[in-house]
């Protein structure tokens, strides 16, 4: 699209291949401009790409190999197994429990939030009722409140009902997902034709039937977007579980990783220890935390952007 053939006078003669190649690649940027363009993009690719590539390869090496081999060398497949086995010596297989907890918290919050988000967004978009404006306003306000400002009151609230140090302390507050409701609201408002709803009502369909047979089938894209946003946010959730949970067996992966960084000599051999926890084990924990979301990111790049854009144009 940035192909600016129009600036050149039309010629009947076919230009030589080298010339056409030059114009396709360098074109209106000029040689200096093109080099600047290429170098910046490549440097950026190294900056963003190398750390993740390194993280993917690191657990294949032993701690000693991490220092001696080239940073991007591959150790062996057995290295991953060894690192995993070593990791499992920490608190009697705590890593498996943390991974399970991460999954449990993320999926539970996701299910609860989707179950209430879809009908709420649908109702807010399709009918006018008492309190609608108030709900929308409060949703927008809570959307911009930083999570950390609410964490302390949330702690006291959850503490008052005796749920601190239980999975619910993380699952329930995370299931509250105002951005999701807002997204569902604009989605239904834009994609459900008012006439269709009116026609179905005339034909005697009740509100539940309208939602079940008109709204819900239309919500596929929305569902994908909500799943992505809610799951990644919950999977990476750190501050809330950090405050709510102090029993290590309830930790999720972020908290477990934190425990590994601060509570062991995995990264810095500051004190002597019998645990075989070294850099490869720490890297493997990081990889376990990053990989699922990275894969989802790769698959759903388009969804993510449309979701973020939906937020960007909320004015």
């Amino acid at each position: 699209m940035a192909n600016v053939t129009s600036t050149y006078p039309a010629r009947a003669v076919r230009r030589p291949f080298v010339f056409r190649l030059y114009r396709a690649i360098i074109g209106d940027l000029g040689v200096a401009g093109f080099l600047f363009w290429l170098i910046i993009l490549i440097v950026a690719a190294i900056f963003f790409g190398l750390p993740l590539l390194w993280l993917l390869l690191a657990p294949s090496k032993s701690d000693r190999e991490l220092l001696s081999l080239s940073p991007l060398a591959f150790g062996s497949l057995g290295g991953y197994g060894q690192a995993w086995a070593n990791l499992n010596t920490f608190n009697k297989g705590a890593i498996t429990r943390w991974a399970f907890n991460s999954l449990l918290y993320s999926v539970s919050s996701l299910l609860i939030s989707v179950l209430m988000t879809l009908p709420a967004g649908y109702a807010l978009a399709t009918s006018r009722f008492f309190g609608r404006r108030l709900i929308l306003t409060l949703t927008l306000i809570t959307m911009i409140l930083p999570g950390s400002a609410l964490v302390l009151p949330l702690f006291l609230e959850i503490n008052a009902v005796g749920l601190v140090n239980t999975p619910w302390a993380v699952i329930l507050p995370s299931a509250f997902f105002p951005f999701g409701v807002y997204l569902a609201y604009i989605y239904f408002a834009a994609s459900l034709p008012k006439d269709l709803l009116a026609a179905a009502r005339v034909d005697g369909a009740n509100e539940w039937q309208l939602f079940r047979f008109l709204g819900f089938p239309l919500a596929r894209t929305l569902l994908g977007l909500l799943t992505f946003l809610s799951f990644t946010a919950n999977w990476n959730n750190y501050f809330l579980p950090f405050v709510m949970l102090n029993n290590t067996s309830l930790y999720n992966l972020p908290l477990g990783l934190q425990a590994l960084i601060t509570g062991t000599s995995a990264l810095y051999p500051t004190f002597a220890t019998d645990l075989p926890l070294k850099r490869p084990e720490a890297a493997l924990t990081g990889l376990l935390m990053v990989l699922p979301v990275a894969i989802v990111f790769l698959i759903s790049q388009r969804y993510v952007i449309s979701g973020a854009l939906a937020g960007a144009t909320k004015e």
């Binding site: 940035a2 600016v4 690719a45 963003f48 709420a120 807010l124 009918s127 306000i141 960084i261 993510v304």
Partner: protein, 305 residues
Amino acid sequence: MNASGTVRPPARLRIRASHLFVLPYVIFLVLFGVLPGIMALVFSFSKFVGGRPQLFAAGLTNYVTVFSDFRFANAMKNMLNYLIISLPVGVIGVLLLALLLHARPNRFTAVMRTIYFVPGAVAGPAVVLLAIFMFDPNVGPFRDLLHVMGFEKVNDVVRDSRVPLLFTLISFFAGAGGWVAIFFGGLNSISQEIQEAAVMDGCSPPQVAWYIKLPLIRPYIAYMAILSFAGNIQLFAEPQLLARVQGATIGAYWSPNQLSYAFAFTLGNFGAAAALSLLMLAIGLLGAILVVRFTNLFRTDAIAN
């Protein structure tokens, strides 16, 4: 089909159904959004005795406590030092990458865009872990570069004076790709004709970028500035974890959020913690208002589509 024109029973039915539809959400909205928000406000004026709140007993004492705490000025200074670097670097870097990518929308740039985007999956402690490895002149993929720059140990790299820069690198790594993608989307929505007309009039690619594309994606830039500002002042995991690893170089009260956490859970002063949280919220809102003012965010004629 209804005989009585004034009363509309179906409408009333509809209202009841809608209320049922929103009920679960409203319960969560009140419990986990509105109530904690109000509690934070009330607590900031309350006194805590043995963990029990005495509502409104403190007046403004909590705010005075926060302001007069010797760590507060320090934390604010740290945050400011960080913002001064991270905001311009973030906005300009993202803008540059998006414009460069958009100069040639082809398969190569699509791959580049994806490479920039995927680190967005890395968050919280995982970012810090990765950063510790990257800053280590003996381990990471940049170790040769770090050696050339004269660093030998990770402690040489992670110095107090350099912490704002390091945090900027971290946040750019994890956050820039998403914004690049969003800006790119914004650039794609600019009409083809305007750009072609500019080229016809003799604009070079940088001129098209500066005079045509940049003004048209201004709302996205403002949006990013607001959210980055609000996000950057909430720094917690990074200093918290780098502090432990590095021993004394970064204190446990480096950022305002760490201080707020310490007020609550180390000192048991929930009132001061709430006051500080609200203060940060106010600063975030103030930043948003300034950006909106400064960039005429709501001047709708700038939106291309």
